[in-house]
Symmetry: C2
Subunit: 362 residues, 2 copies
DNA sequence: ACAATGTGTGTGTCCGCACACACATTTCTT
DNA sequence: AAGAAATGTGTGTGCGGACACACACATTGT
C-alpha cells in the first residue's frame, strides 16, 4: 500500500475557481458579511464541491485570538476524585499551550447547587469562549444551561450527563452500564459460593447531591440481578452513608454492621472504597469480603496494592478532562464537528494490571 | 485559577539574545552545520535556558518535506488480530494528513522469519524516514535491527519487545504482566470452587513463531500461582495447538479432551478464543468452564456477547498502532524525545463493558 | 449637484518557522 | 601573494490563512 498525500486545496484555489479574491473567500468562510449573495453562494458551492478543509496549522498560526475556557467542577481536596479530570484538563491546556496555542482558563468550583448556579452564571461573561462543566443537581443545571444556550455559549458536560440538553458534547459514561459491569464481576466471583450470598451496596458520598449520581449506578447494579433472575440467590443490603471526613465514624459503623453479619461482597458506589477497606482491615476478619469500588485515586490504589480492595472500576477520569479541552479546541478553533456523546471505556483494575507510573500520556 | 499564556519565545528571540541572525539559530536547531563552535554553544545554552519550544503549527506549515513510513507487520486476514494495530496506524496517518502533513507509507507483511528479514531489508531504502514494525523471531529481528542502527534508520517496535535494542520506542505490554492479570482474575473467580480446580491453558496460534510470544504469557500466568503458593489448589494442563484454520480439527480435539475431563476454567493465550468457544458450545455441556482469552477482534466480541467467552483481555491494540505513528511524527518532525517504553493499559472486558461502536477515537 | 454614508471586493502584512541563496570572512593552495 | 575553496552568517521568500485596510462604486440625503 502506498498512501500519497492528496493535493490539499487552499483558499487561493477556491478564489481562483470562483473568480474572486481570497479576501472574499475568507469573508464567506468566516461569515464576516460584506459579500453579495450570488458570489457567496457560488463560493459556498465550490467549498462544498472541493471539500475544502482549512489547514489547521495555518489557521492557528494566523489567529492570534486566545481561547478562554471556563471550567466548572465540584470543589475537591488533593487525592479526591475530581482531581483526576482536572489533571487531564491541565495537561491538555499545557500541551496545547506548548504547541503555540494561546489558551486561558478560568476555573470555578462549587460545593452546593446554589454555588454551582452562581459560578456558572459568572462564566457567562464575554471573554469566555466555552465552558467545561460537571452539572450539579438537575434543576440548577437545566436552568444554567438554558442561559448558556441563549447566549450562544458552547458547553461540554463531563462525568454526568443531562438528557436532552444542547451541549456540544457529553464526555463520560452511562452509570447504569457501570453498575451492570460491577454486578457481572461480582456475580462471576461469587457464583461458586454455597447458599445465599450476602451482598452489600454502600453509597458513600460527601453530600446528598453527589449521592444522586451514585444511585444510578446502584440501579444498574440491581438491574443485572433482576434481569438475570438471580435475585433470590443473593441477600442484598444497601447503606447510604454521608461521609463528613472522619474515618472513625465509618470504623464504628462498619464494626456495628459486621457484628451482625459478614457479607461475601461489598460494592462501594462512590470513589471512597478505601475508607471501607481501612475499616474492614481493622476488624481483622479471617475471611474478608470481596471489595469493589471506583476510581484510581491514590488512596484507592494503595488499597488495591495491599489487596484490601479487590477491584477498582474507572471511567478514564483523567482522559475525560483531557478530551473535554481537546473537544473545545477542535470545535471552536478548528470549527470541527464534535461527537455528541463521547463514551469512555469502563476499565477494570486489580493489583496486577494497575497502570504503572513508568509511562503514560493522556 | 487563571492560567495566562506565557509569552512564547521564538527563534527570533533567541537570535536577538545571542546576537546573531535567525538563520544561524535555525542552523544549530537543525544541525545543518556551518556554525562556529562558540556561537553554536551559546545558542544551545540560550535555547536550554529559555526552554525554547518550536511552534508546531509554524513548523508543519513551513516544512514541505513529506514523511515516509515503513510498516512491517505480520500478514493477516480480515478480522484477525493484526488488523487492529493496522487500523490504528491508518487512522493516525489519515488524521495527520487531514491536518496538512504529508505522510506516505509503505506497508510490507511477513508470514515467516525469512520474509520478515527480507521485507525489513527492503525498507532500508533512502526515502523511508522510519520503520514501525512487529519483530518476528529473535534471531532475525536482532539482525535486521542492527542494519537499521547502522543506517541510522529509526524504528519503533510494537506489540513485542526485544530487550536491549536501540529502538526509538517500544509500544505494547509486558506479556508476563498480562499472564499475571489473567491468573488473578481466574483465581478470584474459581476460589470458591470446592476441591482442586482443573485449569487448562491453551496456546493456540497460527504458527510456531507466534507461539513463542504466547509462552511468555503462559509463564506469567503460572508465576502467579507459584508465587502465591497456590499450585496445589489447581490441576494444570497445557495444550499447544498450531491452528491451520479449520474449526473442525479444533472441534475434534476439544471433544476428545472434554471426554476425559471438564475443566473449571480455560485460558487461551492467543487471540483465537472464539474457536475454542465455538467448539465448546457444540459440546452442549450443562456446566460450561470459565473461558478467558485475548483481543477485541470481531469473532471474539461476538462470543463475549453470547457469553460463550467470559472475559477478554486486551492491550489496546489499535492504540498501539496509532501511537506508533504519532511517536514517529513527534520524533522525526518535531524532534521531540520519545519515551523508550510506552506501556499500554491492560483492559479487562466482559459483556457488560464492551466498548460500543457508538463512539470512540483512537 | 455634491458630500456623506454604505456595500462589495482586492491588497498587504503578519503569524513562526524552514530552507535556499547571497554574501562575508577565513583557510588552504601552489 | 593571489586566487580557490571552505567556512561562517545574514536576508528573503514561501507555507495557508486571518484580518486590517484601501478603494471603487452605488446609494442616500440636503
Amino acid at each position: 500500500m502506498n498512501l500519497k498525500s492528496g493535493t490539499h486545496i487552499r483558499i487561493k484555489d477556491i478564489a481562483e475557481k470562483a473568480g474572486c479574491s481570497i479576501g472574499t473567500v475568507d469573508r464567506v468562510i468566516h461569515n464576516r458579511g460584506k459579500v453579495s449573495e450570488p458570489v457567496k453562494k457560488r463560493i459556498l458551492e465550490i467549498i462544498r464541491e472541493l471539500d475544502y478543509k482549512p489547514n489547521v496549522n495555518a489557521r492557528v498560526l494566523a489567529s492570534k485570538r486566545p481561547l478562554t475556557l471556563g471550567i466548572l467542577l465540584p470543589s475537591y481536596r488533593r487525592g479526591e476524585y475530581w482531581e483526576l479530570p482536572n489533571l487531564g484538563i491541565k495537561e491538555a491546556i499545557e500541551r496545547y499551550e506548548e504547541q503555540g496555542y494561546n489558551i486561558n482558563s478560568i476555573q470555578l468550583t462549587y460545593n452546593s447547587p446554589e454555588k454551582f448556579l452562581k459560578a456558572g452564571m459568572k462564566l457567562l461573561s464575554d471573554e469566555i469562549d466555552g465552558v467545561i462543566m460537571n452539572p450539579a443537581s438537575y434543576k440548577e443545571s437545566i436552568r444554567l444551561v438554558r442561559f448558556y444556550f441563549q447566549n450562544n455559549k458552547p458547553f461540554i458536560l463531563i462525568d454526568s450527563d443531562i438528557n436532552g440538553v444542547p451541549s456540544l458534547s457529553f464526555i463520560g459514561n452511562d452509570p447504569v452500564q457501570t453498575g451492570l459491569t460491577v454486578a457481572k464481576l461480582i456475580h462471576q466471583i461469587t457464583r461458586h459460593i454455597q447458599g445465599q450470598k450476602k451482598l452489600w451496596t454502600i453509597n458513600l458520598s460527601k453530600n446528598l447531591d453527589q449521592m444522586y449520581a451514585l444511585l444510578a449506578r446502584e440501579s444498574g447494579f440491581m438491574n443485572y440481578y433482576s434481569g438475570k433472575l438471580l435475585l433470590n440467590e443473593y441477600d442484598f443490603k444497601t447503606f447510604d452513608i454521608e461521609d463528613h471526613g472522619s474515618q472513625k465514624s465509618i470504623d464504628e459503623l462498619m464494626e456495628e454492621l459486621f457484628s451482625k453479619e459478614v457479607p461475601h461482597a461489598i460494592y462501594v458506589t462512590g470513589s471512597m472504597v478505601y475508607k471501607i477497606a481501612i475499616s474492614i482491615k481493622k476488624l481483622k476478619l479471617e475471611q474478608k469480603p470481596l471489595l469493589i469500588g471506583h476510581d484510581l485515586i491514590r488512596a484507592n490504589i494503595d488499597r488495591v496494592m495491599d489487596e484490601s480492595v479487590d477491584f477498582l472500576i474507572e471511567e478514564e477520569a483523567k482522559r475525560q478532562g483531557y478530551l473535554a479541552v481537546e473537544s473545545m479546541i477542535r470545535s471552536i478553533l478548528y470549527k470541527e464537528k464534535i461527537e455528541k456523546k463521547q463514551f469512555m471505556n469502563l476499565l477494570i483494575y486489580t493489583r496486577e494490571n494497575l497502570p504503572s507510573d513508568r509511562t503514560e500520556q493522556a
